[in-house]
Symmetry: C2
Subunit: 561 residues, 2 copies
């Protein structure tokens, strides 16, 4: 069996290795346009930051061996042709025409099975100046080397990052580690589009506290070389201009589908990525596709989506290989789990955001639930801010988002598993998650979040968003904002126009609460706020709400001191 | 509605608080024998170690308020009678006779609903000397204070911990933090009975590297006061005697069921704990039970079990409260998730151990899978050792165990969720877990473990346990032990009687491998060992196995240098 694999970074080598383990007699050839093989693309920001010291670490196995042509030939027993471009697929002849980029020589490779692992390419906005020497994407090792050179030479102090997605944020952290002053220019009203606005805003506030400037709702119009030295010195936006010693473009990636298109393979209309069935066959059953060039099925909505990630690429490489070797393995789709480290915060999500859930037609209940990420009396305990989204009708968990310094990846992975299984918020509340004070609270953050959603569903709690409360405050609306914390906490920090009645005093001070107005209760994390609301409802008050997420997740200004 | 709750530590206060939120008019009274309320019992080892500085932190809310009678009255609106013992339940009159332990006065409390949250009591072995002043359990705050006094006074240097379960191990860590020389005396052949022997052995090796002496398979026969000062000075065991300035007894707990028994309520035969239905009603529907005194249903086997944990107690308190207030909430049972911190290791499990799975009649496939807990090129990456147990027939995930310095709690929680959902190893392999280099590898440890189990199921890999290979080595059996690593790695450390053939050289050195003998391949983590086995099988070798878990999970002596 002859297998040709086009693409030598993630899904390609994974598929090749697996094929050789299942069918040691197979003849497998990988065609790779670039010169670097099987490198850890996701590690590039950490190579730029200096956390990873040597380029070779990105290309090594966990045993420290470099994955080059020799390694693949001797250890894995397949051939890799780097610096070789695949030009055309002849589906009738079952061959691929390729060109050696050094010698310009063309040749033809026959295949019984073909794997397209062509990856994705960073998008470049159609604005002037993007071709200058100090403008980078952060996609390949060459990019990382270029950025690293400028920051270690200290020639890049003011950096503009265009695009506030995962890569933009990771690049920002890496640049700040080198002392750069970074401004993120984001066209949309928020960075990290994988999150809802309310969660993203918390990340933005935190990044700003770390010295990053974030200009959301801002469009880059031109990159300008005012010094005439062939380098960008300024970024012109629709809201003014920014000095720039370097520009990073991180507005997303586009799947590489030219070869597939040229061969007449089906491309997803919405995603623009190669369409595959759940065995990862393209519309030609002898041609498989895997990794950043394919579209996936969202397991919640059933819709095609494009979420290129190394984890998916590796899993798909394995699935394609199994099927090529006569197996019948399924790639079941994704739940769009994403996470990134933002200085000492995590920012993660799995499943649908509230926005996406509403767009998909769900009637949504959501909860914003701050809490300690382990027993609050442990010194290493840190706050974790959780947003949970569920379907009101069925109770099904639709999505979870996290941020904060606490351990968020764990909760995202549990939620991803629960969403995959179709669990409801009642199921989540009953999960037997591991408990010991160094790792979790007796009621894990997800269990608590599920309970808050259930309280809302069951009518025990009526939530109101920070955005809505903020609007009321700004509009000077007539409502009663009740702070249920202690006088000491209140003196330190509080919401504007709030009135302090500590929870422990509320039952005897009911006369101070107006019966004819909307009441919004809050505290630090909205537990005492919730209890205050129950006391008021028990005392006959009718319009009583609780501020979602409490002070801990309030993204606007507070009154201090 | 009058509710009486017996027990004021975990499930009791949780139930009371929830009842007051759901039914603000209810009259709730908690009866508590001790003087401490709602304290974090699980935090006691960390109070002993000094990680938690003040006793009050164990009794505070996350906002720092002490949960005492005044707090419960003012903030939560229920009454707590501490220092009060419940003597008898009159189910016909619906009343509880109680005694104030200070005044010895008895009185009677009527109830509409009663909650038994009577907890559990440490078991004490029937041996001489257990009543001496320097013999402790680690169950309540008094115990912790007593232990803390002796270690901070530096009068306790040599400490014997009888029992190597969770509490014994946590106590050991706390004592070592104070400079104590600790010996664990464990009757069973291993400590941490929640783990399989092979996993526990790895923890034991690590603890011994931290200076702890572990005497498993050893029975304490007597605690002896040889100085005549009323204090234990020696522990006599069936394998010799140990000096002891202090003894900690941690052989497990027994549910407190005297009241329930006295009232004729049903008790589980196997567990000795109070039997409840899934709404947490005892055999008397007006009497609920929750927390460490009840038996749970194992969600995998459907069998009753007794796994007292603060997490379960809190969830059950909430469920009982909901049902008391007219709801219909289910406590769905447990999957026996447990975790503990052991110095810089974690030790955790969820679901069934291999031992328990076999005992329950499953045909088991298991895998031992070491790996980095995040991208191996990140500096904070640490090894995590995973054991996965599945049902060969259905592929269902039955259990996962972890140890090592890596992030294990995350994987346990994901596995607990997957087991609860009835997922198979194929489902696990397809999970869309969150991936970014600071948090995970592209193939998460659980995904890789599931793939190893699948490879075994599909006949691509034949495993052999470390125990069996060790036996062969000791017995001088005629087999070929092939080390597939590099010469440098081999020179550093290797298995006795192994032969080095690096994977990259294997295909051209096949002649050095005997065709007539059993071959066992290994490497650091058994990935190259697995690939070597595939090369050999591809070359026609017939009896080729792979060492489960590789060198990383080899619990016996190695050849060094």
């Amino acid at each position: 069996m002859k297998v040709v694999i086009i693409g030598g970074v993630a899904a390609g080598p994974k598929a090749a290795s697996r094929i050789m383990r299942m069918a040691p007699d197979a003849q497998v050839t990988i065609i790779e346009k670039g010169s670097f093989l099987s490198y850890a693309g996701c590690g590039l920001p950490y190579y730029v930051s200096g956390e990873i010291k040597e380029q070779r670490e990105l290309m090594g196995t966990s045993a420290g061996v470099i994955r080059d042509e020799v390694f693949f030939r001797n250890v894995k027993n397949f051939e890799v042709r780097s610096g070789t471009e695949a030009l055309e697929i002849d589906r009738v002849a079952r061959s691929v025409r390729v060109r050696d980029l050094a010698t310009r020589q063309e040749s033809t490779l026959d295949y019984d099975k073909l794997v397209l692992a062509t990856g994705a390419t960073p998008m470049i906005p159609p604005i002037p100046g993007v071709d200058k020497g100090n403008v980078f994407t952060l996609h390949g090792i060459h990019d990382a080397e270029g950025i690293k050179r400028l920051v270690t030479e200290r020639t890049a102090r003011d950096v503009v990052v265009i695009g506030g997605g995962l890569i933009g944020v990771e690049a920002t952290e890496a640049l700040v580690a080198h002392g750069c002053r970074v401004t993120i220019v984001e066209m949309l009203p928020q960075i990290l589009g994988m999150l809802d606005w309310d969660m993203a805003r918390l990340v933005e506030n935190y990044m700003e506290s770390q010295g990053v400037r974030i200009l959301s709702g801002t469009r880059a119009l031109a990159l300008e070389d005012r010094g005439g030295g062939g380098k960008i010195t300024h970024v012109k936006t629709d809201k003014g201009e920014l000095p720039a010693d370097m520009v990073i473009i991180a507005i997303g990636v586009r799947p590489n589908v030219a070869l597939a298109k040229g061969a007449g393979l089906e491309i997803g209309e919405k995603t623009g990525a190669i369409r595959v069935n759940d065995r990862l066959q393209t519309s030609d059953p002898d041609i498989y596709a895997a990794g950043d060039c394919v579209e996936c099925i969202d397991r919640i909505t059933g819709n095609p989506c494009f979420v290129p990630l190394g984890s998916t690429a590796n899993k798909q490489g394995r699935v394609a290989a199994c099927n090529i070797c006569g197996g019948n393995e399924i790639f079941p789709g994704i739940v769009a789990s994403s996470i990134c480290k933002v200085f000492d915060y995590c920012a993660g999500r799995t499943g649908l955001t509230e926005r996406a859930a509403r767009a998909a037609g769900y009637e949504v209940i959501s909860a914003m639930v701050p809490g300690a990420d382990r027993a609050h009396y442990m010194s290493e305990s840190k706050p974790l801010l959780v947003k949970m989204v569920a379907d009101r009708k069925t109770g099904r968990l639709l999505g979870v988002q996290v941020t904060g310094p606490g351990e968020g990846a764990k909760r995202i992975d549990v939620a991803a598993t629960a969403i995959t299984a179709g669990m409801t918020i009642d199921d989540i509340a009953g999960l037997d998650l591991s408990y010991a004070p160094p790792y979790a609270s007796a009621m894990d953050n997800l269990v608590t979040a599920a309970n808050v959603v259930r309280n809302k569903r069951d009518g025990l709690m009526v939530g109101i968003t920070a955005e809505e409360v903020h609007r009321k405050i700004e509009a000077n609306e007539d409502f009663f904002l009740l702070d249920a914390r202690s006088p000491e906490e209140y003196a330190e920090v509080r919401l504007p126009k709030s009135t302090l009645i500590p929870l422990g005093a509320l039952r005897r001070r009911l006369a101070e609460v107006p019966r004819d107005r909307e009441i919004v209760c809050y505290c630090a994390i909205s537990l005492r706020g919730y209890e205050a609301s129950r006391v008021l409802v028990g005392a006959g008050f009718v319009d009583v709400k609780v501020l979602d997420g409490g002070l801990a997740m309030w993204p606007f200004e507070k009154e201090i001191g």
